[in-house]
Amino acid sequence: MLKMHNIRKSYRTDTIETHALRDFNLEVKEGEFVSVTGPSGSGKTTFLNIAGMLETASGGQYLLDGEDVSGLNDRDRSRLRNEKIGFIFQGFNLIPDLNLFDNIDVPLRYRGFNAKERRRRIEKVLEQVGLSARAKHLPAQLSGGQQQRVAIARALAGEPRFLLADEPTGNLDSLMARQVMELLEFINEWGTTIVMVTHDPDLARRAHRNIQIVDGQVSDLQHAVAAAEAATA
């Protein structure tokens, strides 16, 4: 589903060049639920941006669903983002001036669906996240957990094969965080590949696999976590 080979990303100012990612290698298989952890400044967000084609890598190869996206132009990258990737952000990132229906409608309009198809998809995902009755509400009229469920609905409406979640429970209390996590696990069970960046070790453990990024490089901790759990048991 996602394959990064020797990905490098550096930011340059007049005097300093910072390497956010270097020799970054990762493969995520279709249907996997992968959590990504790491200390602040380790390169998690840079990885997420490159994986979601929000930024381009300085070097290396990135294959998304078998397609090399490294050399695509902005228009093709926008199209691919819209069609294949669903985003869930830490701050929900709903558009405050639009009601829930219109918020979910945003990526569908960019896809070019007709009004009937958009309505069908929006009603379907609102029902999936349990917010059908709130379609005409503004984001500010909802709780944090409900807003994140709307954000998940928006990400799902385009029926992406790949979901990128950036600290999806970071702004929620523990009860709401659990509900959102259960929703993500449910979505993953339908077959959607999920990569989730998180600081929360408990949530990270619930993924199939945990990747830790340290100093812009990846270390696969799947075996270490399993070993640690075995030792605790």
Partner: protein, 402 residues
């Protein structure tokens, strides 16, 4: 994909700033369209044909110092002298300088013994040489002959038996177009004045008069205490002729006060207020348009900065750069169209007031539409640069916490 419905609902939630810009556009359109129609009217007024070769004409006014001055003799001698100067096409005496703002007028009727109604007309007292001197185009009838001329003393009955009139005056007196050979009368008058000739056009003494163009020429020389001449030079020789006229008239009779100027100077002075009006209103129109453009740039930049995160999110969700630019341009157009629709109504109301209270020209729909179109274009151009800059906001902005 214009996103009109969500765009309108987003605008509704930010309606104060949107309405302020819309109102600014409305006010600008109301002022700009009314100012434009005044500017257009003044430009058209100044571009009207005068019916004369203005660039070749010289006006002379003199007043003798002596009390018992032989005015008739002086006029005959002066005109002979003027016509003999090299480069002079012709010269004539006249009671008024064309387009100078100073002249004579009276009411004339197509029927005798009329007290009310009639047609007001500017009139000249001149002679057979006026036709060639003022370069007029005789479209019907004949010019004066020396036999038509009357030389009258002050307080003497000055009426002549014949006159030449402009076509505009002919149509006013005789709307059926058969004025030649017919007569007209002074108010309460019974002595007819026969129309022996019709000239194509002549603007007369007052360029701003609503009936400029109503002009009558009488073959008459009054022996009053001042006199005027018009001198026509060959094309390109006016300045040279002017110097010679000044020198030779002064040499022939130095005992008089004389003023000589070109007709171009007089015409420029007559149109000075119109020229100033055109310049001031053009400056106001330009300034207002510039201010409204700045307002639009300011609001668009403000909204874009306020929505940087939202733009990043839209980009992350699949918006192309073109989608983002188009969003802001369409949003701006919605505000502009709303403002201009209000402005069109406001412009009509303002114009109605100006027409009824200040006799200003009426605002036509094409002028209003052209002004609205220009302001829509200005608004789009003003929003274009910020909108293009908005498109460069990185989609990665969506994942930044600040």
């Amino acid at each position: 994909m214009l996103e009109l419905k969500p765009m309108l609902s987003a605008l509704w939630r930010n309606k104060i700033s949107a309405m302020l810009i819309a109102l600014q556009l409305a006010l600008t359109l109301a002022i700009v369209s009314n100012a434009s129609v005044i500017v257009q009217d003044r430009i058209e007024k100044m571009a009207r044909p005068t019916g004369m070769p203005v660039e070749d004409l010289i006006a002379v006014t003199f007043q003798p110092i002596a009390q018992d001055y032989d005015m008739h003799g002086a006029v005959v001698a002066d005109l002979d002298l003027l016509r003999s100067i090299p480069g002079v096409v012709d010269a004539t005496h006249t009671n008024q300088i064309p387009v100078s703002g100073s002249g004579s007028a009276s009411v004339f009727h197509s029927q005798p013994n009329q007290e009310i109604g009639g047609e007001v007309s500017n009139y000249y007292e001149t002679g057979p040489h006026f036709m060639q001197t003022l370069g007029m185009n005789l479209v019907a009838g004949r010019n004066f002959t020396p036999a038509d001329m009357r030389v009258v003393q002050p307080n003497e009955d000055a009426r002549t038996q014949v006159a030449i009139i402009t076509r505009q005056m002919a149509d006013a007196l005789y709307p059926d177009g058969d004025a030649l050979g017919k007569s007209f009368y002074n108010s309460n008058g019974t002595d007819p004045v026969e129309i022996i000739g019709i000239v194509e056009r002549h603007l007369g003494a007052w360029v701003s008069w609503s009936k400029a163009g109503n002009v009558i020429f009488f073959p008459r020389l009054q022996e009053n205490n001042f006199k005027r001449y018009m001198v026509r030079a060959e094309p390109g020789r006016r300045d040279e002729v002017l110097k010679a006229v000044e020198k030779q008239l002064a040499e022939r009779d130095p005992q008089r006060v004389m003023h000589i100027e070109t007709l171009s100077e007089r015409l420029e002075r007559s149109y000075m207020s119109d020229n100033v009006m055109v310049k001031v209103l053009s400056a106001v129109v330009t300034l207002l348009t510039f201010i409204v453009a700045l307002g639009i740039v300011g609001l668009t930049v403000f909204w874009i900065n306020q929505r940087r995160k939202q733009i990043g999110v839209r980009r992350a969700l699949g918006a192309t750069r073109a989608n983002i630019s188009r969003y802001f341009l369409v949003e701006n157009s919605l505000i502009a169209v709303t403002g201009l629709a209000l402005g069109m109504a406001g412009a009509q109301i303002a114009n109605h007031f100006m027409v009824s209270s200040y006799s200003q020209p009426a605002l036509s729909l094409p002028v209003l539409l052209v002004c609205a179109l220009i302001l829509v274009s200005v608004s789009l151009v003003a929003a274009l640069v910020p909108a293009l800059r908005a498109a460069n906001i990185s989609p990665a902005t969506a994942t930044r916490s600040v």
